[in-house]
Amino acid sequence: MIKKRKLVFEFQNLLGNIITLFFGFAFAPMMALVFGNSYANVPQALNQLYLGFFCTIPLSMVFVGFSSLFSQEVEQGFTLRAELFGYSRVSQALHKFMALTVFVLLSSIIYSWIFLSHFNLPLPNAVIIGQMAIFQILNTAVYFIIVFILTTILKKFSRVYGISMISYFAIMIISGIMGNMDVGKLGDYLPIKLFVTNYTNHLNDTDYISGKIGLYLLILLGILGVILKVIVRNKNGNKHQY
């Protein structure tokens, strides 16, 4: 199912896209350092800031970088060509997701190293690091499926990118990364908001595990997975060869 050269191809595809590189790798550390310097002496505020921009990494990587790449591929018929070369939609999605996840984790490590070393903050506890990594992977999966569904339905770059950019800023505003919007009870169910709130005070705890966030993300993933399956099946309904 996983083909090595196809995976390398997807890495190179992401590496060749300046939007992905800028928003995926540079945006979070850049913004966090700019805002962080105002709170350099308030560790809790720095933790909150650190986690807030940590969450933007998969969001930027997928909603800004991947959506621009993938929607152009679909619009120009490259996805269909790849299908004709034997890569089914599912196989293509899997390779793209794996490449994106590696990039998200790599960017998260670079971001953490820059931010924590700049503000002389200690490295989070290993258990927390593991949970942060799982959070990033699950978030990447959720965003990935959303963009995949959007692109499969809308097909055109301009439409997909327009909606994904609106969603990008909407998620950042609602989740409290950009500004401080009051979303009332809804905030209790927003994974990013929950993640930042819950982990700000527990970055160095050895026994803190917040299963609720992971559970919400898994439920979301399940729902999106079903929607994706229905959509992909409908789109492939008339194919008999590939």
Partner: protein, 266 residues
């Protein structure tokens, strides 16, 4: 290799293509001609299952390749990386791929990006990737449209050699009679979504033209059909006396196509 029975494709209420019966044998090269919008590409797309259709399309192999008129690949990497990614191999370690690249004279373009290739080079790159998979059945959809004369000639010559070596079954949609002449065993003419003719060019020539024809001023509309060998001399003599430019033919595909479209048999 490819069997079609009662194929019907509709776009909304409009029936775009109907093919009651069509069989293509292994190793045959079929040239498909027709006006724009006549249903040629619809035939290819329905064979590939890319559009909904009624009827039956049976393909006796899973090794199917397609080369479309327009090629779009990603511009984020060099052609070498893209070929390797699409074919899941390394050029350096793959003899078959290296041979194909050399065969289509594409080595110098490997380090370039796809957007920097000419039309002919883009088609050659796609052909390399399609032929690498050694398809038993290959669909070529207007592959040389937009190419300059030299690129088209070069591509046809290369394909002629390749198809002969590999016994590939080919369904080739084209606007160029010259490609049919060079490559095809049979000609399929589609008009307004209907099959007007399907046979070997020489048989179609006999049916629609006769023994031979004189094409005057290089214009198929001004052709003179000849039914008996002994009549040829008289016709040639008259054309010479009139000072006309002409050429004699017993196989001109453009003429066959023109006469098939007129629907007047010899």
């Amino acid at each position: 290799m490819l069997n079609i029975k009662n194929l019907s494709v509709s776009y909304g209420r409009k029936v775009a293509l109907t093919v009651p019966k069509l069989s293509i044998n292994k190793g045959e090269i079929i040239g498909v001609m027709g006006k724009s919008g006549s249903g040629k590409s619809t035939l290819v797309n329905s064979c590939l299952g890319l559009i909904p259709f009624k009827g039956r399309v049976r393909i006796d192999t899973d090794d199917v390749g397609i080369l479309m008129q327009e090629q779009h690949y990603v511009d984020t990497m060099t052609n070498q990386k893209m070929i390797e990614g699409m074919l899941n191999t390394r050029i350096k370690r793959d003899k078959k791929l290296t041979e194909l690249i050399d065969f289509f004279d594409f080595s110098d373009q490997l380090s370039l990006h796809f957007k920097n290739l000419s039309g002919g080079q883009k088609q050659r790159m796609s052909l390399i990737m399609v032929l690498y998979q050694e398809p038993e059945l290959l669909f070529l959809d207007e592959m040389t449209t937009g190419l300059d004369f030299e690129s088209r000639q070069a591509l046809i010559s290369q394909l002629k050699i390749y198809f002969k070596q590999h016994q590939t079954t080919v369904l080739m949609v084209t606007h160029y009679a010259q490609e049919i002449e060079a490559l095809a065993d049979k000609l399929l003419v589609i008009h307004d979504g209907q099959v007007k003719a399907f046979d070997e060019p020489k048989n179609l020539f006999k049916q629609y033209i006769g023994y031979s024809a004189f094409i005057v001023d290089n214009h198929t509309e001004k052709s003179i059909k000849v039914q008996q060998p002994e009549d040829e001399y008289k016709v040639a003599r008259r054309l010479i006396d009139d000072g006309d430019d002409f050429r004699r033919t017993q196989s001109d595909i453009e003429l066959v196509y023109t006469e098939v479209m007129k629907g007047q048999r010899a």
